[in-house]
């Protein structure tokens, strides 16, 4: 089991969830993905798109300013 960090704080729709999906597809079941993203559209939709694929969102925590960390279990 490994943990990977993905920073999409500088990306915009649709690359925020495109990059998330591509990264998750490279990982094994049980792996952890930590996603750094901004509030608004990415925070509203990236966790939802992950759940849509049947993966689990373990935690969503503010990091600084408007940046949040979303932890996903593949």
């Amino acid at each position: 089991m490994k943990t990977v960090t993905l920073d999409i704080t500088k990306d915009h729709c649709p690359m925020t969830f495109v990059k998330t999906k591509l990264q998750l597809s490279k990982m094994e079941p049980g792996d952890i993905l930590e996603i750094l993203l901004t509030a608004g559209e990415p925070l509203d939709n990236v966790p939802r798109s992950v759940v849509e694929h049947g993966f689990q969102v373990l935690e969503v925590t503010p990091v600084k300013d408007n940046i949040h960390k979303v932890v996903v279990k593949r």
Binding site: K10, D11, H12, C13, P14, M15, F17, V18, T20, K21, L22, N45, R48, S49, E52, H53, G54
Partner: protein, 159 residues
């Protein structure tokens, strides 16, 4: 899990800005687990030609001249203010500067996320194109009946 959502897009335009709309929707929908079907017809076929630039491809002299003038996906004009092809280059630069995905990135993402590419049989006959002239990701050359069957039960857009 619930039944998979589905988005089908009829891609008729060969304009740069409309191609961005097609591949933004396609990659975004595929990334949120939609089945995505792209049906390319008429000028939309320029987006999926194997040759990204200009080439005398197709069957028959007139078709070959037509296809040369139309070009491939690296030569798509902006629907307004094209300025002889300068604007798509400037627009791509702007998109890069602002961290927005460019057309090639959206196109590659759509392929990587498994969007299904189909080509319109009738338009291919008119433009003298065969499946060998198109990118290998094109699954099949189809007609209206097949497209209607595959898009049934989902959302369909015409761009």
């Amino acid at each position: 899990m619930a039944e998979k959502n589905k988005l089908s897009i009829i891609c008729m335009s060969g304009d740069f800005d409309k191609a961005i709309a097609v591949f933004t929707l396609a990659s975004g929908a595929a990334a949120v687990n939609y089945e995505v079907n792209l049906f390319f017809t008429f000028w939309g076929l320029n987006m999926i030609k194997k040759k990204g630039g200009r080439g005398f491809i197709g069957k028959g002299l007139l078709a070959r001249i037509f296809n040369f003038l139309l070009g491939g996906r690296n030569k798509l004009p902006l629907s307004r203010l094209n300025f002889a092809g300068a604007s798509p280059v400037l627009m791509t630069g702007l998109m890069k500067d602002r961290n927005v995905a460019t057309l090639p990135e959206l196109f590659q993402a759509s392929i990587a996320l498994g969007a299904n590419f189909y080509a319109c049989e009738m338009a291919m006959v008119v433009l003298g194109l065969s499946q060998e002239d198109l990118i290998p990701e094109v699954k099949k050359v189809l007609g209206v009946a097949s497209f209607l069957e595959m898009s049934k039960g989902g959302q369909t857009l015409f761009i």
